[in-house]
Symmetry: D3
Subunit: 155 residues, 6 copies
């Protein structure tokens, strides 16, 4: 495996997927958001309650909508229809665990959609809690699993 098939001029280019098979592709990504005790104290058992509104609900919607913007944000991503985007958030030990799953039936994978959805959800969580904790850290943004392409992956 190598990066040696570099086009001679080193110009950025989208990969040509015209010859690839159409398959169902699924990817799941994760992002963690760690907050201080002042924020954690606002957890009501199912959501963080902030003066900007319900944090997880807002983050989930932002993540779903963000995932749909992936090909507009990541320069070399292919625009493609999506069969589903779903996001779950759990909260324990001052850390929100965000998981985003994206599905398509297409020629290319949806890893970036899953990662972008998780990231935008994490950024939204940050935005809504930063008045109480400007030192919030987003970490462990990574792919957990993908299936349906040339090779599957599991973290």
């Amino acid at each position: 495996m190598s990066l040696s098939h570099i086009d001679s001029s080193n110009k950025a280019a989208m990969v040509d997927v015209s010859g690839k098979a159409i398959t169902e592709r699924i990817a799941t990504a994760e992002a963690l958001v760690t907050v201080n005790d002042a924020v954690a104290a606002q957890f009501d058992g199912s959501d963080l309650v902030s003066k900007k509104g319900p944090v997880f609900q807002t983050a989930i919607l932002a993540g779903v909508m963000g995932a749909k913007q992936t090909s507009n944000l990541i320069p070399l991503c292919h625009p493609l229809p999506l069969d589903k985007v779903g996001i779950d958030i759990t909260f324990e030990n001052n850390t929100a665990i965000i998981r985003c799953t994206a599905k398509t039936t297409g020629k290319t994978g949806v890893e970036m959609e899953a990662l972008t959805g998780a990231s935008i959800a994490a950024l939204t969580l940050h935005d809504m809690c930063k008045a109480l904790d400007p030192a919030i850290v987003i970490s462990q943004v990574r792919l957990l699993e993908k299936t349906g392409g040339k090779s599957d992956y599991r973290a």
Copy 2:
């Protein structure tokens, strides 16, 4: 400092900034992207060379453009003009250190613009190198510094 001024119905709402002073506001955020040796071996001293094109150059542009999308991505962010968005990437020990600085002259800060710019740059880096390393991790996405608002912050 508290989150207790919750509006009675717990509905999401943008903060009203109409009464705030217009000042020059600057924020800097960071994101780290850690890659495996196969990717790191592609570093040519100033950029990572991938078959999708020059990685850092592409990530910088994606981050600058992403920062300009902040108010479209983060539900409760205010749309505002930007005086500058700049991104630097350094690379050492298999880790790309992305720093994004945003500036505005306005009524509200640009922390989310800096964080979004750094995050989109990191996601772009991930996208361009994931063929060689699907286990890439983005971490330490956080605010480094902000000035110009009610209170300054330094990480």
Copy 3:
């Protein structure tokens, strides 16, 4: 028929359409816009003439373009290719009758595309005539007909 299959945590999520059949789907929606006599007096037999330009022509284009933004605007809508968006406007008795038809060949319907197209056309009409009539009312925004999915509908 019920809403009882609520996911346990009551989190917003796109419906998973990966298992649905690809069929030709058509939807038509309507919106009415009622204006005062001062605006109606500007009707030249085929369009309303305003100082901002030809009102119906502009509203039609805005509606077509708006329909294409549906999945960016409605959080849980699926992004999908469109085979056609068309809008007609007729005018009688101080009321513009806007009809928008959307077509796709896909796994999910285009009701929201038709409704969004009609709504954006109506809002554009409002924008172009509000100098003469700030009391313009948009009403009867509703689905007229849909075909091609699990069940057809006709208002």
Copy 4:
């Protein structure tokens, strides 16, 4: 008051606001959404509970984000910063009453932002409940009040 200052060629054009004063401008708009008993039965006292998630919460966020897209959707609207967008939804007698308030400090009003926010919230509500009631009707989309421009208005 007249529409007689038509540019000679009847071409669409944005109004030139370069000579207008910068003032604080506020606008509030309304939209009603009427649903059937099957949907109304899902009301839990503060939100409609659907299998796609919490309806009013989602509609509020969609409306706030939609208001920020106004100048991208309405062809002749001016892009401008926003000081606040807020949406409230109340529910009685099978009807959701959506009110959207937008604020700016600028040269032109935010009536279209308020109307667009209310409309996108209404469309989102429709989207989330249409499985139970395809005959949902959006009505009374109109401006309630505006202040801060050349002339105030109250419905």
Copy 5:
């Protein structure tokens, strides 16, 4: 005048305009679109009539809306409010002459807004007539005039 102040790492960056004065800035750009006789024969004295609709009306609206997208399309452009965008099209000798004027009151010029507006109008004209003439050529896309910045320019 030189390009020698290159930042040491040759990374793309927006110019920092935070220290610049806020002035009224105006720019006008032009684009020519040359069509064959089959298209020119559709000219009715004020517009080209195509099966996709009125060509110049559509191109004008697309150009105005496109100008508003400038900072989303051109990577290093600053997002800024616009006081006006206007487009005129004249037609003679098989050539449409598109002129786009943009105005802002801000820290940076609107040359790119004027050029983008003219270009998107030209592309729209191409789109609507390409069934009759796939060899349409857009040419002379250039700045005609700008005022209000450090230095004025007139072509």
Copy 6:
């Protein structure tokens, strides 16, 4: 061949492609950008070096991303997935020759995607060099070739 199938009311409308076959469609477009000697002197053999960053690299990315925005910019274009967008730039005699190729597997062609990609790349080049040459001219924006539809075309 004629434009005579005009809909009776001369309203703008997207062509209905629901009955068309899905084929692989490719289009290539060109744009030329002519600069003065001051800009040309910055050519380092592979890119133009400006104080805003590497010009061709930036223009290529902007063009690829712009091509993905085609259906949002050109009112009557169909939104569709893209298999590839690629851009090459060569430079000789003070002129940058931009070629953009777009590919889809769909019901309608990608001429406008290729033309939009080439145009946005050209505008970006203009933006990055205009400090040294405000008289830059973009010309010869045209389709070079298309295949895969009802009829092929070669300039």
